[in-house]
Symmetry: C2
Subunit: 406 residues, 2 copies
């Protein structure tokens, strides 16, 4: 079994890195606080005696090469340590630190793997500062050019490549250098299913499709007091219509489709000026690709109709688009078997969130293990998983890694 | 007649003060650019040989004392030179500079007024940086304590009193020192009525009521991908509902009521996080006080219902509340007579915008003169009034001032 105290202690220690003056955890990709988190992690990887590689997109790898495994494709375990704004401490970090914990446990036990076992922390999984999300693993999997993403512009106007160089994590290893035998990712569920059903382990068999768009609506600034309602081109009002439209469609459908507008900006943003511009993001997800395409088309049609009705112009930019992913059934079955072996309930399930595993699945058999999230809360400082549940998940990871690397 | 070239030249010169790097005019109250505008104005007042007074709230007065007027209450003409964000050049400045122009014209003509004639530039009429709007004239009229408004917090976290001191316009004259015989304000209409009807002069007989509120909606941040629609407390979506509700009520009513949400902020404002908070302003206006109260009550009831339906908490803060104002009918008639004398069409009308005149009306007979706004556009860089219309308005002001001060 893993060393529960060491694992939980590290989760807390890393969770303390990147607090702002109000105590909020903000460790956005390639920021100063991300650097602090990376430094802490790399220190632990070194202490564990792992070989360290950092690639050009800043992905960090800790590789356990053992004498017997020459030339074998490594088994890779991973996740990310970047966070959203005002985040919880488990999202991503749990998987990376449990991966390290599993390797240290196996090393200490005298286990001799038939192949290298490595742990990865991928750059910018969250996609909050730079899009697309799951960026580091997408680059690793060859889904996008490293030079393209290094030129990505952040929400703060920064350029990813410059920021990685500034924080000392623009490595020189070429992305994709490590060709895994298989990929495993342990993560908190971030949703309500496991808790609601009282099941401690999720064997994640698929992951829903993700569509991210940025919409810009241009209207006409005018005086809030003198302009009759019938003569307005109110960009803010048109944006509000998009939000209520998306919400009503998603809520009214009997599918698992979800729709979110998480960001919003009005221009000139003055109390007595009709907004001339509204810029906002749309996050649409559905496990079914056909339905996701139909929703995107329905949104586009609605925007056309709205532009005509409201006298505004609307432009749309794609920020990320990933099709649903089906994970490797053999690994899913091994996860189920490991849980049953330990007498733990287990449930096959769909991931609502995006994860690095979905990118790695393009190049290697991959699957994920979930543990419950209290109240289904994530991307929120109240994100919580009980210690015993965290340890149980890490032990399932240990068992599956042992199984795949023996 | 006024000196058209001097007046138009000054409007353009002042309109060039406060341009940002993108060429946008932003001269918010008590900012650095407001200081530059004030310095230019005070220079012109001095050149015109006027006595200058600056009161504790930063209101600027240029006073023409002539030998014969000892002890008489002054006739006051005024408006403001602060602007909104990305403003036009006429709003407010036109009235101040035309007031100065009228005084200079009368002085040069050898006219000997029976009372002092003064021109005022009131602080923070726009209300964009600090609320309430029409702040300087409200203080002058005794409607709010000077110390209260000096403590006002700006949208940028600044404090008005500190900013006035910093830019050198925290005067030592006590606000309200000047008790006018009457108050006149010349302004662009900022709305579509005069242009649509082809009438060059508006004799403004009343001004609608204004209700400004700031609404804060608190929901629960959560993951955009994993949180089912039925389990969300989405503050951004609730805010959008308020916008569409207000818009539909105002547009659907057959009253002149207008409703605007000009500012909006989401927290944490991240693409894959359901907003935990939305903060926005509501600007409601109606010429009828009963109806305005009924609209405020309807909004409050809607917010209660929305909070329950969406699982959010909603708090409301009043930023400004002014009842409709009826101007002095005798002055309105003098404006009409002056227009007819010059062979100009004139129309009695309602002001949709708030103006310093509405505050001065609390302490002295007051009225306003409007000139057309092209396309009804204001609070927008495309705000425009033809030179000939500007000059015609200034000549009507000249005639009414002459009439009231002879
Ligand atoms: N796991 C996670 O929160 N990933 C961020 C990308 C997403 O929005 O799903
Ligand atoms: N005239 C003018 O734009 N005043 C600003 C206050 C308001 O919003 O009406």
């Amino acid at each position: 079994a893993v060393d529960a105290r060491r694992l939980l202690g590290r989760i807390r220690e890393l969770g303390a890195v990147g607090r702002d003056s109000e105590g909020r955890l903000i460790r956005l990709a390639a920021s100063d606080t991300d650097r602090q988190g990376r430094d802490l992690l790399v220190g632990w990887l070194r202490q564990a005696g792992l070989d360290i590689a950092i690639d050009r997109v800043g992905n960090i790898f800790g590789i356990w090469q053992s004498p017997d495994d020459a030339g074998q494709a490594p088994l890779l375990v991973g996740s990310h340590i970047d966070t959203v704004i005002d985040a919880g401490i488990y999202d991503g970090c749990y998987g990376v630190l449990a991966g390290l914990e599993v390797i240290e446990t196996l090393k200490a036990s005298g286990f001799s793997p038939s192949r290298p076992v490595a742990v990865a922390a991928f750059t910018n999984e969250e996609g909050v500062r730079y899009t697309p999300d799951m960026m580091g693993s997408l680059v690793h999997a060859g889904g996008i050019c490293v030079d393209t993403v290094l030129a990505a512009l952040g929400t703060d106007g920064s350029v990813l490549g410059q920021e990685l160089a500034r924080i000392g994590y623009a490595g020189d290893t070429e992305p994709g250098f490590l060709k895994p035998h298989a990929y495993l990712e342990l993560h908190i569920e971030q949703g309500p299913v496991l808790e609601r059903e009282g099941v401690p382990i999720g064997a994640v068999e698929n992951l829903q499709g993700i569509s991210w768009q940025r919409i810009t609506i241009d209207g006409v600034a005018n005086h809030a007091g003198t302009t009759p309602m019938s003569m307005r081109s109110d960009a803010g009002h048109a944006a509000a219509r998009v939000i209520t439209h998306l919400h009503d469609r998603a809520k009214g459908s009997n599918t698992p489709m979800v729709a979110t507008v998480g960001t919003m900006r009005f221009e000139p943003n003055a109390i007595n000026v009709i907004p001339s511009q509204a810029v906002f993001t749309v996050d649409l997800r559905d496990p079914d690709e056909q339905r996701l395409q139909a929703e995107e088309a329905a949104l586009a049609a609605y925007l056309d109709q709205l532009a005509a009705a409201e006298g505004v112009t609307i432009s749309v930019e794609r920020l990320a688009r990933f099709e649903p992913v089906i994970f490797d059934i053999r690994i899913v079955e091994r996860i189920e078997a490991a849980a049953k072996n330990r007498g733990l309930g287990v449930k096959r399930m769909t991931s609502g969130a995006g994860h690095d595993a979905q990118m790695m699945a393009r190049i290697t058999p991959a699957a994920m293990i979930f543990v419950p999230s209290a109240g289904g809360i994530s991307h929120n400082p109240r994100e919580h998983t009980e210690d015993a549940e965290l340890v149980a998940g890490a032990n399932i990871l240990l068992d599956v890694v042992t199984d795949l690397a023996k």
